[in-house]
Amino acid sequence: MARAIKAENIVAAGFLVFAFTLPLFKGAYSVSMFAHYYIVAILALSMSLVWGYCGVFSFGAAAFYGVGAYAYAILSLSAGETALTPLYMLVAVLISTLLAAVIGYFMFYGGINDVFVALITLCVSLVLETFMAQTAGSQWSIAGVQLGGYNGINGIPTIHFGNQAITGIPFYYFVLFILLAVYIVLRMIKHRKAGYTLIAIRENRARSLLFGYNIEFIQMIVFALGGTVAGMAGVLYTAWGGYITPNSMGLIQATIPVVIVAAGGRKNMTAALVFAVIYAWFTQTLSATGSEYGNIIVGVSLIIAILFVPNGFIVAVFDWIDKFIGWATGKKKG
């Protein structure tokens, strides 16, 4: 049976072409900003994995994003060896993974689920933010790096390959590569045992247990992997901007990925990715013109999505295109 061409695949292919050729027709500033949008998309994919696929509604992405970011900042500034930045990156991602695994272990093996996971993870993010925000005094330093309280840490080096600093277009492709790697892996598992396992847990935990699925363990692993992806986004953000502040773990940062994934389409990776890039581009464009309407627009779009397209905007668009293709090809045959 030949598989129909799906709107999702068309959009994914279109995005791929757009993303790879962007540096050819856009200036350095746009390229750099798009690298940032892709970082937001990586964070959204973390959310899509944990919540969209496995049904664990968590605000933890911000915490793991922030921990990854701070870990990379402290490691790269204290050692001062820029050639080792890829290693620091890996270590920082590992730290956020471990933190997620530990939190996940206590939550899931403790029988905590659903809205209580959301509450706990939101608290973790906010506690970390509050803690980092009060580290302004000179006594707050780790390995000689001042944590800097609300102002955060500045002057963090970007990622280096050897002596070569990765900035501009190479950095853009580096982020794009990681985004696509995460995206492809997550899409690949969808039609395999791993994907079915996550969906089974999302749809009905009690029943899946009696089909032999080790629910707590799988939830913990997925939560930890969500920590990996979110931590990666945090590291990349730090390397991109050269600074990190406690805001990265605050309320807005914790809710934005949830809103993006909910409004775009939480059960669809492509929708989460595309909507994240559109959202990030849109808010950036708005704030560049001097207004702070970005969050309001996101809030309104979430309300509209919940009321009218509960499966998400982008998923709704995919469905429309699919219907149109079906109609057009059916007409041709008839």
Partner: protein, 254 residues
């Protein structure tokens, strides 16, 4: 996948003085019973007698408060539910436990995945799904979203999903609930066929005609305790059982 080896143990399942209390409520009270290999046993009793709780203790959804559960000669009292399932204890739940937002085939794939050889080919999986669909006679449906199916179709789908585990002990909780006479007859036929294939089956039901049709041995529960046990014909004649359960007044003959 299975950690408990197949032995020639005659007794597939044995509950030894099992109790379960929820706070102050004694749902199951010092309950002991055995199910032999290849047996088709029915558990009956009035509402609230603790039948479904016994099932939940056997599958491991609830831990026991006291007592022991022996499966194929091995103590599984502390074994987590997912491992019991992987060792061949399968249950068809009272309320259809299907994944309503997924398609028929996806439901069956989820049910199959833990019971196939690791890294099995996609084709083997599809074949296993085809066989299960054929077994319960749902071939004509295609691959719809399961939430749109009728109650009876969902029940049969779940039976097929339960059989995907290739179980050694099959627990059926009110299989015929909500079925019309024709559907009940088909279900009875299906259960008999599985029994003839040598499967050990333990089931709960309220429909006495259905029970009479398929069960050989019956265990009666009342207030969490074992009230009576024996052949179906004897149990039906037992006046105490009639009083508590079958709804006939003592001495009455209609």
């Amino acid at each position: 996948m299975r950690t408990i080896k197949d032995t020639n143990e005659e007794t597939v399942l044995k509950l030894e003085n099992v109790s379960k209390n929820f706070g102050g409520i004694q749902a199951v009270d010092d309950f002991s019973f055995e199910v032999k290999k290849g047996e088709l046993r029915c558990l009956i009793g009035p509402n609230g007698a603790g039948k479904t709780t016994v099932f939940n203790l056997i599958t491991g959804v609830y831990p026991v408060s006291e007592g022991k559960i022996i499966y194929k000669g091995e103590d599984i009292t502390k074994m987590p539910a997912y491992k019991r399932s992987r060792n061949g204890i399968a249950i068809k739940m009272q309320i259809p436990g299907v994944y309503e937002s997924l398609t028929l085939r996806d439901n069956l794939k989820i049910a199959c995945y833990n019971f196939l050889t690791p890294h099995c080919k996609r084709r083997e999986l599809e074949k296993a799904v085809d066989e299960l669909i054929a077994m319960v006679g749902l071939e004509s449906l295609g691959d719809p979203i399961v939430g749109n199916l009728s109650h009876g179709q969902q029940q049969w789908l779940e039976i097929a999903m339960t059989l995907a585990a290739k179980p050694d002990l099959l627990l059926l909780d009110e299989l015929a609930a909500g079925f019309g006479p024709e559907e009940t007859a088909f279900t009875a036929k299906l259960v008999k066929m599985l029994h003839e294939q040598g499967l050990t089956i333990l089931f709960i039901d309220h429909d006495m005609d259905f029970v009479r049709e398929i069960a050989q041995k019956v265990t009666v529960m009342h207030f969490g305790k074992k009230f009576a046990e024996g052949e179906m014909s004897d149990i039906e004649q037992n006046e105490d059982v009639q009083t508590i359960y079958l709804g006939r007044s003592q001495g009455g003959d209609n």
